[in-house]
Amino acid sequence: MLRRLLVFGLLAAAPAPGRAQGTAVVYGTVRDPFGGGVANASLFVPGTALRTTTGAGGRYLLAGVPAGRVEIRAVVVGYPPAVRTALLGPSDSLQLDFELRGLVVPPEDLYVSTTQPIIVTAAKRSQLLDQAVTSVALVSDTDLARRAVSTVDEAVNRAPGVLFLNGQVNIRGSSGFVEGLGSRVLLLVDGVPANQGDRGGIDWDMVPLAAVERVEVVKGAGSSLYGSAALGGVVNLITREIPLGLHGRVRATGGAYANPPSDVWRFRDYTGGLGGLDATASYGRGALRGSLTLGGRHSDGYREQDRSDQWESAGKAEWQPRPGTHVTAAGSWTSHQYQVFPTWCVLGTCDTRGQAFQPFMIDSSGRGSYTRSNKGHFAATLDRTVSTGFAWQARGSWLRTHFTDVNPDNWAVANRWGAELRGVGRNAGGRVVTAGVEAAHGDVTSDIFGDHTQNEVGPYAEAEQRIGRLRLTIGSRLDWLAVDGSERATVLSPRIGVVVPSRVGTWRASTGRGFRAPTLAERYVSTRAFGFEVIPNPSLDPETAWSFEVGNALPLRAWGRLDAALFWTEARQLLEPTFVLVVDPVTKDTVQKIQIQNVSRAQLRGLDLSLTVTPLGPAFTATVAYLLLDTRDLATDSVLAFRPRHLFTLGADYRWHALSVGGDFRYSSRVERIELEPVFGGDPRVAARVLDLRAGWERGPLAARLLVTNALNYIYNLVPRTLEPVRTFSVVLTWTY
């Protein structure tokens, strides 16, 4: 009652514009994880000038908020931002309380701009972006909404330094292209490892994009905290917080693919389409909150034999039994059936209509190929903030993938069970210690990989010590890996880094060791490829790499941020398919077969640059990113395959009242070298020059966006005989409650 009277009094005293028709008042309290009010918290409505701070007891009032659906953020130094959305009517006054989560960074630790994003991946704890010892790229919820992409890989693909090669993610050229086997990037979903248990690749359709709030991309070796697969970097998908009250969101997508630009390339007599619908509902009350997302998509594809159908679901539940304690359970399940475009047709593999190749048509030997892929994950997490100096987390997880291929006929079922216990302690002397242990058990049953198990245990610890303005970080992780019950590898992954603020930005330097254990598929695959038998190699050793980086993050007054990093990676024992001569036990003939072997040594170095500016205020945002990549295969003294030397991205967005327009341009230079040069070396390869355009309109709970990806209908490929997407028009309608 007292609060209502206070609000009424404040309303009465508010200036006239605050009571203007079409606006509302929002008030409430910002509380820390223990329930105490937080003073001096900053609250604002993104994209507007509306802003206020909390007073004593954590109370705030925000007047003049436009009616309709609004998002309000509470930002407190040292905590991840808290976000609430509300549907406001004219003259409404609505109470919105915010609850902060995680362990607070002591204010005396903070000497940098408090408008920086908080990240949670680089050190397995909350920290400001400029406090990370390695480079981190962010794809914020604003970026996701503005670009209105439909899948997670589309969202990650434009991050600085990131390039997808036919679905395989490369961070600073980490993975190259190996047909989905053995990603050198680790995927996390809310911090939980999510690479496939059998092939080690990444199912980017594992989690619906509608459930993702933001993405953090940590560059360079991350094995000192994350163990295997984090050889070249880590991508963490952070799912949406569940707000209090009843909320919903429905998103419908429809579009069409451009027809081939030349009649001689036409492969169907209709225009291919795509469409999708997803809906999210959430409800939160008191200590309990839950959300559910359901969706489906269909695509005719832009090439011959390229249809796909997908059904997806995701759920999340949160329970706060008492202040400082959070229990979260989250999961997703996706069923994806898609035709497989094997490789495009060249002379002798189909009727090329007098052409050397037909990029939209398939090699007829792959006719009828399709894949049914089911996948899902479940994770339960208990977070406990014991005091302002100590918090811990325990979690268990399960990941399952099941694919069935037709032509060639293969199948595999894989499970990965994981557990982690982690604590973060902080003392008054500026020391932060993160320590924990992670364990995983994987199993696979397959006609081409056999039946196998893999167990992993990895204790780790990392300490950050503040020495004056400098922060020194030292840590390490020790991983034991056992396959089918016998130990195969013990790997130590240390890391040391330093962050030093200066008048010319914040400098960072780090070196760390990364590794990737061979996947069960790489050890035990037994199949045929390119007409050759592929034979297993159970004695494979892990790939290892040392990463070095020196970087600087420079704030450009209030209108921009420049981040530049020089990096150098020395990799050893890289796994690659290799031709071997084997004596056939029956015929006694010496025949050539393919086997995965530890053969390559490689060097990757370069410059990673990103610039974000808002020269005309928040209405106009421009980004420039450039990656210079200099690679060497030290075994063959040649450039590494599938690593474009230059990657350049230019983006701009402008917002005027309810309307917005924007675009991205991406250039990647021609791939200089590919694998299997004798087979594919004669194929044409070009640089990629792709322009995406977008426009949007928002009014209250409704939003409409028009996207034109690859607007110039630039026809290109990044990997052999695999056409990249053509121009695609799509309209996305979103209704939010």
């Binding site: 030349s262 001689v264 390339w265 002379l347 002798g348 090329t352 209509r353 007098g354 052409q355 050397a356 190749f357 990029p359 020269p615 005309l616 106009f620 421009a622 230019l650 701009a652 675009g663 341009f665 250039y667 004669g682 044409p684 070009v686 640089a687 020059r689 792709v690 322009l691 110039l712 630039y714 026809i715 290109y716 490929n717």
Partner: protein, 172 residues
């Protein structure tokens, strides 16, 4: 205000400058990536050959084969397979630039392993490109392949007028 407008114009110009080179530099249909032309059929495949026909293909030789063993060194390594009848069809031989002394259509018999000794029993010449002014015994027509390819190297295939390989390497 004017400064803001100027910034916007500069930004727009930068975007335009960046995307302009994107036009017309992607993959394009190839006009002729080597030797191309049309195959026309004179009649259809005789019934007597229907069961024994493995393939009809078009190959090229940089120099006219001097021995039966040279027959196996044709270009490209994967030849162009063509139909055994029907309407005129375009063919493409994806070969490197250079001069080719002999471009011909070959009928291949089913069964057997192709080698110098078996070439005469398994292969028949069923048409070749010939310069109108060429007077050599085997009717060589030189084909010069440049960066733009060599188009209109046309054949007429008549399965009733097939020639044994030994005609070119006597005695038969």
């Amino acid at each position: 205000m004017i400064a803001g407008m100027r910034s916007r114009v500069v930004c727009a110009a930068l975007v335009a400058a960046a995307v302009t080179p994107a036009c017309n530099e992607g993959l394009r249909p190839t006009t002729c990536p080597g030797i191309c032309g049309t195959v026309t059929y004179q009649g259809s495949l005789p019934d007597s050959l229907k069961d024994s026909t493995a393939a009809v293909l078009i190959v090229a030789y940089t120099t006219f084969p001097q021995t039966p063993a040279d027959l196996l060194h044709f270009q490209p390594p994967i030849p162009a397979f063509v139909d055994t009848g029907g309407p005129p069809r375009r063919y493409v031989l994806q070969v490197p630039n250079g001069t080719y002394e002999w471009v011909l259509a070959v009928w291949e018999k089913k069964g057997g392993s192709l080698g110098p000794q078996s070439a005469d029993s398994l292969l028949r010449e069923v048409g070749f490109y010939r310069d109108a002014g060429d007077t050599t015994s085997h009717g060589t027509g030189r084909v010069h392949v440049t960066g733009t390819g060599a188009d209109s190297i046309n054949f007429v295939i008549d399965f009733t007028k097939m020639h044994r390989i030994c005609n070119y390497f006597p005695p038969c």
